[in-house]
C-alpha cells in the first residue's frame, strides 16, 4: 500500500511550489485573484487536513491499518485500480441515471395526481405513507421475483428511493396551491386539464425541487444496496467486494468518487431550478 508514497509526495510538493510561486503574484492577477483569495482558507484547511491525516496514519499509526489508510494509500488505489474504477463509475452512472430519471418521472406523475384528485389521494396517500419509511433493502426479495434481470431490480430500487420524496413533495405542493389561482383560471374558462398544467404544476414547482434534492441524496445512498443484487461492476459493488476482502483503502477511494459524483450533480440541479424558478422573488 505504500506504492504511491513517492507520487503523493511529488504531487503535494508540486502544489506547494505552485502556491509559493503564486503568493507574490496573486495581488497582480485580475479575475482569478478574487477566486483564489475566496478559496484561500480552504486551500490552507485542505493542506492541514492532509498533514494531520498523514501524521495520524502513516507516521504515528494512531489510526491503525487496515481500518484506516494514509492519503498516499488512497492515491495508490487510483493508480493501481484506476481502470476498474472507471468501469465501475460508468456502470454506476448508467444505473443511477436510469433509476433516478424513471423514479422522479413516476414520482412526479403520481404526486400531481395525489395532490389534485381527492379520490386518488384518499386511496393513494396511505400507501405512500406506508411505503415511504420502508428501507430499500426490504424490497429486494420481491423485486427479485418481479424483475426478470437483476439490473432491472437494481434500477427499480434506485427509482423507488428517488420517486418517493418527489411524489410526497409534489403532492403536498399541488394540494397547497392557493385556491384563488384556480378561481382566476375557472373565471376565464379554463378546464381542469388547463388548471393542472398551467396553475397546479407551475405553482407547485418550488416544492417539487425540494423533493428532487432529497431524491438525489436518497438515490446515491441506495446505490450500494442496489448493486448488491448480483451486479458485476459498479461503485456500490466495488465497495462491498472490497469490504469483504478488507480492502478498506479501496472502499474509501470508491466512497470519495461517489461523494464527488453526488456533489457534482447538485450544482446541476441548482442550475435547472434557477432556470425554472426564475419567477420567484429574490431570484432575479
Amino acid at each position: 500500500m505504500g506504492g504511491s508514497t513517492g507520487l503523493f509526495a511529488a504531487i503535494t510538493g508540486g502544489v506547494a511550489v505552485l502556491f509559493v510561486i503564486l503568493s507574490p503574484i496573486v495581488p497582480r492577477l485580475g479575475g482569478t485573484r478574487d477566486l483564489l483569495l475566496h478559496y484561500g482558507p480552504w486551500f490552507v484547511a485542505v493542506g492541514v487536513w492532509l498533514a494531520l491525516w498523514e501524521l495520524t496514519t502513516a507516521k504515528f499509526g494512531w489510526l491503525p491499518k487496515p481500518f484506516f489508510s494514509p492519503p498516499h494509500g488512497l492515491l495508490n488505489v487510483y493508480v493501481t485500480d484506476g481502470q476498474r474504477l472507471l468501469i465501475c463509475i460508468g456502470y454506476t452512472l448508467r444505473l443511477w441515471t436510469l433509476g433516478f430519471l424513471s423514479g422522479i418521472l413516476a414520482g412526479y406523475a403520481i404526486g400531481v395526481a395525489l395532490g389534485w384528485s381527492k379520490r386518488f389521494s384518499y386511496w393513494g396517500m396511505p400507501f405512500l405513507k406506508l411505503i415511504g419509511p420502508v428501507p430499500a433493502t426490504a424490497w429486494i426479495p420481491c423485486t427479485f421475483y418481479f424483475f426478470p434481470t437483476t439490473f432491472g431490480a437494481s434500477v427499480f430500487i434506485v427509482a423507488l428511493a428517488s420517486g418517493i420524496p418527489v411524489a410526497i413533495l409534489t403532492a403536498s405542493g399541488v394540494s397547497s396551491v392557493n385556491r384563488t389561482f384556480y378561481d382566476v383560471g375557472r373565471i376565464l374558462g379554463a378546464d381542469n386539464w388547463y388548471l393542472i398544467r398551467r396553475v397546479a404544476i407551475p405553482a407547485s414547482t418550488p416544492h417539487v425541487f425540494v423533493g428532487l434534492f432529497m431524491a438525489l441524496y436518497y438515490s446515491f445512498a441506495v446505490l450500494v444496496v442496489a448493486e448488491m443484487l448480483g451486479a458485476k461492476y459498479g461503485l456500490g459493488w466495488y465497495i462491498q467486494f472490497q469490504t469483504a476482502y478488507s480492502g478498506y483503502a479501496n472502499v474509501y477511494a470508491a466512497l470519495i468518487i461517489m461523494a464527488i459524483l453526488c456533489a457534482g450533480l447538485i450544482p446541476l440541479l441548482f442550475v435547472v431550478r434557477d432556470r425554472l424558478l426564475s419567477w420567484q422573488e429574490g431570484f432575479i
Binding site: 383560471g185 373565471i187 376565464l188 407551475p202 432575479i284
Partner: protein, 265 residues
C-alpha cells in the same frame, strides 16, 4: 393605444355583447366551525343589459360574496341567479371578474397572465394582439415581461383588469378594482372604464367603497345593508358622461347616499 382591438370581435363569434342578470331571492350562508354565518338574505336584484351598476355597502356585508355567486364560482344556499334567463351553475368566460385582491400568477409574466383567458379557450394564436391591446389600455405595455413581484400594487391591479378585459366579457364584475390605485391613475382608469363600457356595451357591476366613484361611473347605485346583506336603498340617475364631481345633482345624490350608509355628510 390600440383600444379598438379590444372592441367585441365579430358579432356571433363572441356571443352577446351585454347580459341581463336576475338575482332572485338569493340567500347565502357560510358554515364556520359549528355555526352558520348568514351573509346574504333573500336578495333580489335585476340588472338590465348594458347597465352600469354600482354596489355600496359596509365592510364585510357580503359584496364580494355576491359577485362570486354571480360569477358562478359558488352556488347560493337558496334562490337562483339567471344570466340572460339561464341559471348560472358555473363560471363562464362571458362573465369576467376582477378580484378584490390582485391575484396574479407568481410564475407568469404579465403578458402570459393577461393571455390566460385566451389560452384557456384555445384562442391565443388567433387573438394574441388582444393581449397587447389590453396591456396598452391599462398602461402596462412596458411591463409585459415583468413578473408579479416586480410590480407595484396598483400595477398588479391594472394587470388584473387587463386579464378580465381580454376575454371580451358581456358582464364585467369589478370588486373594488381601483381601490389600491393612486388618485391620478384612478381618475384615468375611471375614465377608461367608462369609455370601454360605452364602446363595448357590456353590463358592469362595480363594488366600490367610494361614493364619488359610484356616482362618476354608474347610472344606478345600490346600497347594501349590514350582514346579512339585503338591498337597503337604491338610486337611479341618468347623467351624460363625462361627469363632473361638482355637478350639483351628483353632490345632492352623494349626500343622500352617505346618509343611507350612516356616514356624516
Amino acid at each position: 393605444m390600440s383600444i379598438a382591438a379590444l372592441a367585441p370581435a365579430e358579432p356571433g363569434i363572441s356571443g352577446p355583447i351585454s347580459m341581463a342578470i336576475d338575482v332572485h331571492a338569493v340567500s347565502h350562508r357560510f358554515s364556520l366551525t359549528g355555526s352558520q354565518l348568514p351573509v346574504i338574505e333573500t336578495l333580489d336584484l335585476s340588472i338590465a343589459p348594458g347597465d352600469f351598476v354600482a354596489l355600496l355597502g359596509p365592510s364585510g356585508c357580503g359584496k364580494s360574496t355576491l359577485l362570486r355567486l354571480i360569477a358562478g364560482l359558488e352556488r347560493p344556499t337558496s334562490g337562483s341567479i339567471l344570466a340572460d334567463g339561464r341559471p348560472i351553475t358555473r363560471p363562464d368566460p362571458s362573465r369576467g371578474l376582477v378580484f378584490q385582491d390582485p391575484t396574479l400568477f407568481p410564475w407568469a409574466s404579465v403578458w402570459k397572465y393577461v393571455a390566460t383567458g385566451l389560452e384557456a379557450r384555445g384562442r391565443l394564436r388567433e387573438e394574441h394582439e388582444r393581449v397587447d391591446s389590453a396591456l396598452a389600455l391599462v398602461g402596462l405595455e412596458a411591463f409585459a415581461d415583468a413578473y408579479p413581484h416586480q410590480l407595484s400594487g396598483g400595477m398588479a391591479q391594472r394587470a388584473s383588469l387587463a386579464r378580465a378585459l381580454v376575454n371580451d366579457p358581456a358582464l364585467l364584475l369589478l370588486d373594488e378594482p381601483l381601490g389600491k390605485l393612486d388618485s391620478l391613475t384612478r381618475l384615468t382608469l375611471q375614465a377608461e372604464l367608462v369609455g370601454l363600457w360605452q364602446r363595448n356595451g357590456f353590463t358592469a357591476l362595480l363594488v366600490t367603497h367610494d361614493v364619488e366613484e359610484a356616482l362618476l361611473l354608474s347610472s344606478r347605485v345600490i346600497v347594501l345593508s349590514d350582514r346579512p346583506a339585503h338591498i337597503k336603498a337604491e338610486f337611479r340617475f341618468d347623467k351624460p358622461y363625462p361627469r363632473h364631481r361638482d355637478d350639483p345633482d351628483l353632490v345632492t345624490l352623494r349626500r343622500s347616499i352617505l346618509a343611507t350608509l350612516g356616514l356624516p355628510t
